[in-house]
């Protein structure tokens, strides 16, 4: 690990992330009357991992198997022309699709809101959900679009010059949310 990352401040450690996801799972159950007709769709890559974790908790608490999937938003982004074409993530929809369901989009960090806007467009092309909600592990503010999260793991006041990085066991070997100052990078 680089020095910069060592100096960076971990705002959430493994147990904090664990508790935040547990609370989000409970809130989803509460707000959707026992996760009735809920579909969890994560935004790759870490949002998809988080969606699976939340589904695991819902199964553990209530014994319900909530359909989980992933929806890649790369082709729908509004900043595609600002960088070279990037690799695509995986879209995996549950076999019954999203029509008439309550879709809970799951992402790791909510920032400008542009990724979520892209996700709403992508969702439009795969079906017509009854309602769409948003869950995020970290809300760091600085919205550029009228979008808000329904379920938030942690509200994290940041400055625009900072960077928020989420590490998850499945993809990165450890659980942590790290705040990196611009000049540390």
């Amino acid at each position: 690990m680089s020095d910069a990352q060592n100096q960076a401040r971990a705002v959430l450690e493994g147990p904090d992330i664990h508790r935040a996801l547990t609370r989000i799972a409970h809130e989803i159950l509460e707000r959707t009357r026992g996760a009735e007709s809920v579909v969890l769709l994560g935004i790759p890559t870490r949002g998809a991992t988080l969606a699976h974790r939340i589904a695991g908790r819902i199964a553990q608490f209530e014994g319900i198997k909530v359909p989980v999937g992933a929806i890649d938003v790369t082709m729908y982004r509004d900043d595609l022309r600002l960088r070279p074409a990037r690799p695509l993530g995986r879209t995996e929809l549950p076999p019954d699709g999203v029509d008439g369901r309550t879709v809970v989009l799951v992402d790791d960090v909510l920032y400008s809101g542009r990724t979520v806007r892209a996700a709403l467009d992508a969702l439009n092309d795969v079906g017509r959900p009854r309602a769409v909600q948003l869950a995020t592990l970290v809300d760091r503010g600085h919205r550029e679009l009228p979008i808000r999260a329904d379920y938030v793991g942690k509200n994290l006041p940041t400055s625009k010059s900072e960077k928020v990085k989420v590490f998850l066991e499945e993809t990165d070997g450890r659980d942590a949310v790290v705040l990196i100052k611009e000049d540390d990078r």
Partner: protein, 311 residues
């Protein structure tokens, strides 16, 4: 930086894998009810076809339209202007129309390369003379990987009219990059000069190569390009280099049979083999759209192309 797809030799292993992985994700889009993506909205793709080719043109057209690009079909057939002049004039016209990408099919080897020096957009080679046909090779590699799960270490036999085949050259270069071992099988008269410099093996004996091949790619005998006697008769060719039922039986159980189309049934491939479940011929057509979407996305989707060779 301006980049093009003119030869599979320009693709690094990472480039090639990025195209195949992107195509893999895009294949899922073809399965849903709304097959369109907004990614190339406002971009213009010109299909410039100096040679007849229904399947390749339609495939590129479908790929560009599924990505929401504007498509202009420019059929230059019947042009009375001599080739060099006409190509440059056409290039200037395309410049004026603001083409972001030009997909070109031309009977002269090297035409896409020339075009690339005249236009601002990316050039995609859709077949030039007997030189290359990179998107065909990419869709072949994609079809093999989907069927057999990998490319590394596979033994691929490319059989038939290598001399007139742009598909053969593109495939040898790409499959070599991706770690497959290619053997060209053809009568000596149908092998190009300097074929020994290609990164592949050469054999004149199909029956010896078949049992150890994982993939057998049959090439079309391009009678329309033949102005000399390359083999004694069609029957003799078919007997020595055609894939019929007996030869098919000698392949191992997991081996697959490919053909870039259009086929001469009964000549290089028998109808029975072409229609067998181990033939990927129909898949190859479907995969063509997906792979061409991946190429167009990676060339045009961002601020600059993510793949291809520089001019």
């Amino acid at each position: 930086m301006k980049r093009h797809l003119i030869s599979t030799g320009d693709l690094t292993r990472d480039d090639a894998l990025l195209i195949l992985d992107t195509a893999e994700e895009l294949a899922r889009v073809s399965q849903r009810s709304i097959k369109k993506l907004p990614t190339l909205r406002g971009r213009t793709v010109v299909n410039l076809f100096f040679e007849d080719s229904t399947r390749t043109r339609i495939s590129f057209e479908a790929a560009a339209k599924r990505l929401s690009a504007d498509v202009i079909n420019f059929s230059a057939k019947g042009s009375s202007v001599s080739k060099g002049e006409s190509l440059k004039d056409t290039a200037l016209t395309l410049e004026a129309m603001g083409a972001d990408a030009v997909v070109i099919r031309h009977s002269a080897s090297g035409a896409p390369h020339r075009l690339a020096t005249w236009v601002r957009g990316s050039v995609v080679n859709a077949g030039d003379g007997t030189h290359e046909h990179p998107t065909q090779a990419l869709l072949d590699a994609f079809s093999i990987r989907r069927r057999l799960g990998r490319l590394e270490g596979l033994k691929v036999a490319v059989v038939g009219d290598v001399l007139h085949s742009r598909v053969a050259r593109s495939n040898v270069l790409l499959l070599h990059t991706l770690g497959a071992e290619v053997t060209l099988v053809a009568p000596p008269t149908l092998l190009p000069v300097a074929v020994e410099t290609w990164p592949c093996q050469i054999s004149y004996d199909l029956d010896a190569v078949l049992p150890k091949s994982d993939v057998v790619m049959m090439l079309r005998v391009q009678l329309e390009r033949m102005n000399a006697a390359y083999f004694p008769s069609a029957r003799e060719y078919s007997r020595r280099y055609g894939l019929d039922r007996d030869r098919f039986a000698r392949l191992h159980d997991d081996a697959i049979v490919m053909h870039p189309g259009p086929m001469n049934r009964g000549m290089e491939i028998s109808a029975e083999v072409a229609d067998s479940p181990r033939s990927t011929i129909v898949e190859q057509v479907a995969n063509g759209v997906t792979v061409r979407m991946a190429v167009l996305y990676l060339l045009l989707g961002g601020s600059e192309p993510a793949i291809g060779g520089a001019e």
